[in-house]
């Protein structure tokens, strides 16, 4: 066509627009990576914030970058190197220093105009940050971040490739400091959005989405089928990060500690139960036993730590005190969130506890406690085989000691009865006991019930307690007042009163209750479920019985609720439960994904596929069968007419689809952003382009003219477009492709 260059088939983004898009995608990628670090407990908050702000500013106004002083570009490399060396030298932690270095480099890349190589570097740096954050935190947000990152990186790579095709060598050259490239000078959001709308066909967008979903799906399948290895144990990353606790239970409680945790409604613990019938109405998740009391503070005594805990072990299996029982065991799988405590929540004495990953731990079988060496910084998963879920915790060793002391008459010296209180306080406690029990000598169970009732009648429950000022023990002061109090005060008072009455008693902290997530079918226990209660020793039973002064809401019938009824009473189907179920899915299937779970999942996928196939096959078979019986059945006039009409209808529909289908499809793909563009005109343009690629033949002229009329002619003069397109298709198929004039090789011949 002489002067006219070969025409592009559909609108494209110009090189400058692609560069702008590339810049925005790079910025977004940086922000996603920085967001990943934000959740990491690293000392890089300030740096991350600065980097994020600079990136945002550069995204919004790319031409600002020309104002960055030239000196910064000159000094960038020495400064970053010095920063890294200094960081490693001063803090002697390699990984955090590397993360900070990475953030610095990202920052620098976002305040300079990037070349292709820099864009690729950006992707690698971002990936490093996202991966480090993911491995260290193992949180469900990691999945979201990685998905967003992958989508963004794919988009960026596409933009880079497209830009490479269009950019002139001059535009590829690095931008000298202090200068603004043309694209940044002309960058405008509204324009880019309008152009994107014009360029983005819904079919392209849909294709992109399908491809991305395909990539994600393939990755998921790969993840399911590759052999598992322990990520954290095989990677060195965790050792580089110093362990640090956020909140949580510790071996001492001062009044107020537990309620601080109660303010926090985030999930603390998720529990899977293999047998729903074993779920009690009101489960207590014990974590810590505090046996020593002094001046308003309960703490775990040194003796307890020394005597009750077995020596530290390393590994995955922790034997509990409980003997194996007959019948099928119930498995309880716990997912304890990071930063809750190093003491594992347990529902009572247990048979075996299996960690998902090897841990350093100590077991106290008689206290039904397991303590890790350090507070975990990631989620800890463990499975417990069979709990003794009753209200009583048998302790034969203490029972023996207690009865021996009874024979020797040294019961008052027992640490679990001893009270370091003044005489006045002791007397006050005695008065309360007389008031609560009526002065009669009662068995521990009755004592607990009566004192509990007395406490509840005298003190209202409140999360904002007040302890009256005065002399003596603060707990006794509260006990004698009528002030409101929280669970710790109630539990502490119960212990003081029991000890005063000569009964061994201790405070236990942990969680009470929880909700049953109706979506993922597991217990969800939040930090706000934190609770403290007492345990009093019952000599006749030889066991510690639970004495929760605040546990009165449940009637006798409710107390005996078990299994489904208990579940139903705690069912949670709120949107929050839906979000939590995702977290549980993440833990069950992705994070704590061992070989057994893997095999289970694979089997599940296989079963599902097979059942769907079988179902389909059965349905198709039955359809055929029905068609056959229908055909075989005797024919009458009505049936004959009916089937003839149906066949004609089907034929007409097919014909209509063949004739009108392409036009319908074109109307569907009509782009709004492209404005005036008509689908028939576009199709005609496409065929003209194809025809131009073929070797010209004289008989093409007719088709070409018809196509030109459709493309550029007045609409009123159009003849049937579909027929023209059919002819064009036929012509293009028959035609030979145009021979492009190749570069001639000149051969030098010797004379």
């Amino acid at each position: 066509m002489g002067l006219i260059p070969p025409a592009p088939r559909r609108p494209h983004l110009a090189a400058e627009e692609l560069q702008h898009l590339k810049w925005l995608l790079g910025g977004l990628l940086t922000l996603i990576s920085l967001g990943a670090v934000f959740y990491l407990d690293l000392e890089a908050l300030m740096l991350t914030g600065v980097a994020a702000l600079c990136t945002l500013a550069a995204m919004v106004r790319p031409r600002l970058l020309a104002r960055v002083p030239r000196l910064l570009h000159t000094l960038a490399f020495p400064l970053v190197t010095a920063f890294f060396i200094g960081d490693v030298w001063l803090r002697s932690e390699v990984l955090p220093a590397m993360v900070r270095l990475c953030i610095l480099l990202l920052l620098y890349r976002n305040i300079t105009y990037r070349q292709r190589r820099d864009e690729l570097q950006l992707i690698v740096l971002g990936l490093f940050l996202v991966m480090v954050a993911g491995v260290l935190s193992v949180s469900p947000t990691f999945a979201v971040q990685l998905l967003a990152f992958a989508a963004c990186a794919l988009g960026l790579l596409l933009a880079i490739t497209l830009a490479e095709l269009q950019l002139t060598p001059a535009a590829r050259a690095p931008v000298p400091p202090g200068e603004t490239p043309m694209w940044a000078r002309r960058a405008e959001f509204g324009h880019l959005i309008r152009r994107m709308r014009a360029v983005l066909d819904w079919r392209i967008a849909a294709l992109g989405a399908v491809l991305f979903a395909g990539v994600v799906g393939m990755s998921a399948l790969l993840f399911l089928s590759i052999p598992r290895f322990q990520l954290e144990n095989s990677m060195f990353l965790e050792r580089f990060i110093e362990k640090k606790a956020k909140t949580g239970f510790s071996e001492t409680i001062r009044f107020g500690d537990v309620t601080e945790i109660q303010q926090d409604t985030s999930v603390a613990l998720s529990v899977d139960v293999s047998n729903v019938r074993r779920i009690p109405a009101s489960p207590y998740w014990r974590m810590l036993v505090l046996d020593s009391y002094q001046n308003g503070v309960f703490r775990a005594s040194a003796e307890q730590r020394r005597n009750e805990f077995d020596p530290e072990r390393a590994g995955t299996i922790a034997p509990g005190g409980l003997r194996p029982r007959r019948g099928e065991a119930t498995y309880w799988t716990f997912y304890l969130e990071a930063g809750v405590s190093r003491f594992l929540p347990l529902a009572g004495a247990f048979q075996t506890l299996t960690f998902q990953e090897a841990q350093h731990f100590r077991v106290a079988p008689r206290l039904a406690m397991v303590a890790l060496r350090e507070e975990p910084v990631t989620m800890v998963a463990y499975r417990v085989e069979d709990f003794e879920m009753g209200q009583a915790l048998p302790d034969t060793r203490f029972a023996n000691r207690w009865s021996a002391r009874g024979e020797q008459g040294t019961r008052a010296a027992e640490p679990l009865v001893r009270l370091a209180l003044s005489d006045a306080d002791q007397a006050a406690l005695g008065e309360v006991i007389v008031e609560a029990t009526g002065g009669a000598k009662v068995v521990p169970a009755d004592f607990v019930r009566r004192v509990g009732e007395w406490l509840r009648q005298r003190h209202p429950y409140s999360l904002k307690p007040s302890i009256p000022a005065g002399d003596g023990d603060p707990l006794v002061r509260w006990l004698r007042s009528r002030e409101s109090g929280h669970c710790e005060l109630f539990a502490g008072s119960m212990v003081l009163l029991a000890r005063s009455a000569g009964l061994p008693a201790r405070v236990v902290t942990g969680f009470r209750g929880g909700s049953w997530n109706g979506y993922s079918n597991n217990f969800t226990i939040r930090n706000s479920d934190a609770h403290g209660w007492a345990e009093v020793f019952d000599e006749t039973a030889g066991a510690w019985i639970r004495a929760d002064p605040l546990d009165s809401g449940l009637s006798e019938a409710a107390q005996n609720l078990h299994g489904e009824a208990a579940v139903a009473s705690r069912l949670d189907r709120s949107w929050k439960a839906r979000v939590d179920s995702l977290r549980v899915f993440w833990y069950r299937r992705i994070v704590s994904f061992d070989q057994r779970a893997q095999a289970e999942t694979l089997r599940g996928v296989k079963d599902a596929t097979r059942s769907v196939t079988q179902e389909l096959r059965a349905r198709i078979g039955s359809l055929f069968e029905r068609a056959k019986t229908w055909l075989v059945a005797p024919w009458d006039l009505r049936r004959a007419f009916g089937s003839a009409a149906a066949m004609v209808g089907a034929g007409l529909t097919t014909w209509w689809l063949i004739v009108r289908g392409p036009a319908l499809w074109r109307r569907l793909s009509f782009r709004r952003g492209a404005g005036r563009e008509d689908p028939v005109r576009r199709e005609a343009g496409r065929w003209l382009g194809r025809l131009a690629e073929t070797e010209p033949e004289p008989d093409h002229a007719g088709v070409r003219q018809e196509l030109q009329r459709l493309r550029f002619g007045p609409r009123a003069s159009w003849t049937e477009p579909e027929a023209v397109f059919r002819r064009a298709r036929k012509t293009c198929r028959a035609a030979r492709p145009r021979q492009r004039p190749g570069r001639r090789r000149t051969t030098i011949t010797r004379p």
Partner: protein
């Protein structure tokens, strides 16, 4: 659609133009593209500036066009002492009628050949240009219509600048196109050598179309359909001349309209009722080149014209044509 022209009308127009073209070919040899461009200019109702050396057939071209369509032809040789009245005509006192009577000048013809227009003074030039613009002559408050169709062939010598008054750019804008005749091919020239007669008066050409036919063609051309993407193509070319660093200034709005009109006429010539991007691309150089000046002016007129054409071709090649 209102702008839909019946096919029969288009075919008839194309046939007339074909007859005209064939007729002109008899006297103008080997210059088919020039004939086509002259016809485009005629149908679009514009005026033509021919720049070339003397004796390459400019007058013959104009004369044979006039003769082919039953039109009057006149020729004005522009010199520095030519007065506006010599071109437009003057009012003289008629003694018998006792009043002023307008004596029509040579401009009252259908085809006017203004030879070496740059030799006349600016005053005379502008008198002619005013007639070109309005197709009327006003003398003593009385206006007189010139012929319809009315078309001016102005010629210029691009090499010989001694003692000339070059047309300012604003006046160049009045011409629809600028053409170069160029030397004929050797074969054609041999044929000319063999058959050449004396002056153009001896050219025996019979009229093949009537004046009314030409007027009908001129009325039909604006109805040729221009699709939006083709208009957009024109607009992008026009914009590109304005942003290109090589030109002193871009083309005017009038130039854009002229390109559209010329493209419509070309489509009609090609027996089409719609404009192709090809029509536009082919006409960019003849329609735009005389309206543009380079930033780095060249002392050599031919050199400058070549550079402008090359820049325009580059611009057209850089803009993707609608598909």
């Amino acid at each position: 659609m209102s702008d839909f022209v019946p096919v029969a009308q288009i075919t008839e127009a194309a046939q007339r133009l074909n007859r005209l073209r064939a007729n002109m070919r008899v006297s103008i040899r080997g210059k088919d593209d020039v004939i086509d461009e002259v016809l485009v200019c005629l149908v679009a109702g514009g005026h033509l500036l021919i720049e070339d050396l003397p004796g390459v057939g400019k007058t013959t071209l104009a004369y044979s066009l006039a003769r082919s369509m039953d039109c009057t032809f006149s020729r004005v040789q522009f010199t520095s002492d030519l007065l506006p009245g010599d071109v437009t005509g003057v009012a003289i006192y008629d003694d018998t009628l006792k009043e002023f009577v307008f004596k029509k000048g040579p401009v009252f013809a259908h085809i006017v050949l203004a030879d070496e227009i740059n030799r006349a003074t600016p005053k005379t030039q502008s008198a002619l240009l005013e007639v070109m613009d309005r197709a009327r002559v006003t003398v003593d408050g009385e206006s007189h219509a010139v012929g319809a169709p009315f078309m001016v062939f102005a010629t210029q010598n691009p090499v010989d600048f001694e003692g000339t008054f070059p047309l300012p750019e604003s006046q160049m804008d009045r011409f629809l196109m600028r053409l170069r005749m160029g030397y004929p091919e050797p074969d054609d020239e041999r044929e000319i050598l063999r058959n050449a007669r004396g002056g153009y008066d001896t050219i025996a050409v019979n009229p093949v179309v009537t004046r009314g036919d030409i007027l009908a063609l001129q009325a039909l051309a604006p109805q040729v359909f221009v699709e939006d993407s083709v208009l957009e193509f024109i607009l992008r070319i026009v914009t590109a001349t304005r942003t290109d660093t090589e030109f002193r200034a871009g083309v005017s709005v009038r130039a854009g309209v002229a390109l559209r009109m010329a493209a419509q006429a070309r489509a009609l010539l090609r027996n089409r009722d719609f404009v192709l991007p090809e029509d536009v691309a082919e006409l960019v150089v003849p329609v735009f080149s005389h309206r543009l000046g380079l930033v780095r002016q060249s002392s050599d007129g031919l050199e400058e014209r070549r550079a402008v054409s090359a820049a325009l071709k580059r611009i057209v090649a850089s803009i993707p044509s609608p598909a």
